[in-house]
């Protein structure tokens, strides 16, 4: 399975959840598969999906799923100790680890070589780290959403992309409709 197939498989699970989605193809694919006002699409700023997701989880009560990639986590490695030391039990970080920088042409990342993000997350102090095969991601997410414990899921999938249109929605519209959903669910 490649990332877009993983997103298709988890779309029904996250459709009604607050989602912060990584820059580039992941956001474009999620937008195409299942656009929801509960999705915050990153149009730029590689690496910060997990930080935005953690800040959001710490400041309101609804569950938050941040969809990140291995390359983006490598870009913002400092995020893992921050997550470990600021436990938000409504926070789920899903790292779709295809061992490559997908949006830029599938250049290999170190996560696809000797570096295990699962081991790194554990070493950083994250207590509940689950590594799963791509086909098991939806089930792992369901379990994480059913629990009340901060969870990091590292989904190992294959590298590869599909053709997908860019998101033309204005960033302020994305942010405004997302914030209205957050406010409504916390009211």
């Amino acid at each position: 399975m490649i990332r877009s197939e993983v997103l298709r498989a988890i779309a029904p699970v996250i459709s009604d959840q607050l989602v912060v989605c990584n820059i580039g193809l992941p956001s474009q694919e999620l937008h195409m598969i299942d656009d929801q006002p509960t999705n915050f699409y990153m149009l730029g700023t590689m690496g910060l999906a997990s930080s935005i997701g953690l800040g959001l989880a710490l400041c309101q009560k609804e569950k938050v799923v941040a969809i990140d990639g291995d390359g983006s986590v490598l870009t913002n490695f400092g995020t893992l100790p921050t997550i470990a030391n600021n436990v938000a039990d409504n926070f789920i970080l899903l790292i779709i680890d295809n061992g490559s920088y997908g949006s830029t042409g599938d250049q290999p990342t170190y996560a696809g070589k000797k570096t295990s993000l699962t081991a790194v997350a554990k070493a950083c102090g994250c207590d509940n780290v689950v590594e799963c095969a791509a086909k098991d991601t939806a089930e792992a997410l369901k379990q994480a959403l059913a629990g009340n414990q901060m969870t990091i899921i590292v989904c190992k999938c294959e590298s590869g992309n599909i053709k997908v249109p860019v998101i033309t929605m204005d960033p302020v519209v994305i942010r405004d409709r997302f914030m209205k959903e957050v406010a409504r669910r916390n009211a």
Binding site: F40, L43, T45, L48, S51, I52, L56, L58, T82, R175
Partner: protein
């Protein structure tokens, strides 16, 4: 109240409840005051762009954020300020130690100081410079301005303001 307590009192009065920090010697006192403030969630960042992501999430979660950092970190925050904070129109007060100004003992700090205001001006970030302790009387108005206009706003605080190193 000392200056650190006054700064934190202004943050609290403006309902800022989420503050991320990356330390600077000059900011040690204010960071301590934030850590000890019961109405502020203090979340240290490992790098300043990470902090800008945390603040964006906090704002969308309904809390007013702020970042406290050193001017030498401006370089690592430019992309996140432009493509996240500004692009999505989010407010962000940035309390910044202005290293490399008069009284600076470390020559290397001056190398970033000479670019600090130029970079902020290039980014169209409203910038205020606290040089004397009385300049902090404007902090309350600056915070209100930041959340009125939904922009990142920089407050540079130099060595004279902090009464030396």
């Amino acid at each position: 109240m000392n200056i650190n307590e006054r700064i934190v009192a202004d943050l609290v009065a403006n309902k800022i409840e989420f503050v991320t920090t990356v330390p600077c010697k000059q900011l040690a006192g204010v960071i301590d005051a934030i850590e000890n403030c019961p109405s502020i969630y203090h979340i240290p960042s490992n790098k300043e762009d990470e902090g800008i992501g945390l603040c964006a999430g906090a704002f969308m979660g309904g809390k007013r954020p702020a970042i406290i950092m050193q001017n030498t970190a401006l370089g690592v925050t430019i992309n996140s300020l432009v493509t996240l904070t500004q692009f999505y129109r989010m407010p962000l007060p940035m309390l910044i130690s202005y290293r490399g100004e008069l009284g600076e003992p470390v020559a290397c700090q001056v190398e970033m100081a000479v670019h600090t205001k130029a970079l902020l001006a290039q980014l169209n970030i409203p910038t205020y410079h606290f040089h004397r302790e009385s300049d902090a009387e404007e902090l309350d108005a600056i915070l209100k301005y930041t959340f009125m206009c939904n922009k990142p706003v920089a407050i540079l605080t130099d060595a004279s303001f902090w009464k030396g190193y």
